[in-house]
């Protein structure tokens, strides 16, 4: 994870296109400017960044299932629960399940665990749109970085 660059996903560990489920792995860095403010002397990953992590896992799931034809943009977060604290060095397992493929939107359920313990979970909604100019290549590059394209294309 590089929190300050919003690179929340280190590696895709599995993508099941039939079951529409993804599992990814991310390790919280030992140091980050984020921890200087949240909180001084008591570093904790902010809930908003855990939400972003679930959203990115869900987004890569949608990209993988749809074959990179459209871009998912986060439009809603429901039923978000943050069950325990996450500090530097924690290895996170993030899973996302595609619950519904609507026309122009998608709904996922995502959760984060660490050593099998629940960290957080939420239901996320995405608007599915054509890629803005140039974003297709950027997303493919990011997907290649985390090993997603090896799985899908």
């Amino acid at each position: 994870m590089r929190l300050e660059y919003f690179e929340m996903i280190d590696r895709v560990t599995s993508l099941d296109r039939d079951a529409k489920r993804i599992e990814v792995s991310s390790t919280v860095p030992m140091e980050s400017p984020v921890f200087e403010g949240h909180f001084p002397g008591h570093p904790l990953v902010p809930g908003v960044l855990l939400t972003e992590t679930m959203a990115q896992a869900s987004g890569y799931l949608v990209l993988g299932v749809m074959g990179f034809t459209h871009m998912p943009f986060l439009m809603g977060v429901d039923k978000a629960r943050f069950r325990t604290f996450v500090g530097p060095g924690t290895v996170l397992t993030v899973t996302a399940q595609l619950e519904h493929e609507g026309s122009g939107y998608a709904v996922t359920k995502a959760r984060i665990t660490a050593e099998g313990k629940p960290i957080c979970d939420a239901e996320l909604r995405f608007r599915i749109m054509p890629f803005p100019e140039g974003m297709d290549g950027q997303m493919r590059a990011q997907a290649r970085r985390i090993g997603l394209l090896e799985e899908t294309v």
Binding site: G76, H100, G102, S103, Y105, R125, R127
Partner: protein, 93 residues
């Protein structure tokens, strides 16, 4: 009115926080009820789940944008309900 309308009206009332009594078959979801595109996607999700269908929103939007169909065709509730009933019937056929 039909049970489909009652279900849809209930979904709109709950999802968009609109008093149920303001929602009639003649209501235009956007012009009369003030539902924006984001809220309409929430409503579409609830309708998809409730009826086990997939509202073809992208197709409808394209038809409206290209002038092939007036927005009323899809967004006046009695018309939306008729399309839901047709999708349910097609699924059951």
């Amino acid at each position: 009115m039909s049970s489909t309308f009652e279900t849809v009206a209930g979904i709109i009332a709950e999802t968009a926080d609109i008093p149920r009594e303001q929602i009639t078959p003649e209501s235009h979801a956007i012009e009369d009820l003030g539902i924006d595109s984001l809220a309409f996607l929430d409503i579409a999700f609830a309708i998809d789940k409730a009826f086990g269908i997939k509202l073809p929103l992208e197709q409808w939007t394209q038809e409206v944008n290209e002038g092939k169909a007036p927005a009323e065709e899809y967004f006046v509730l009695k018309n939306l309900v008729a399309r839901i009933d047709a999708l349910v019937a097609a699924k059951q056929a």
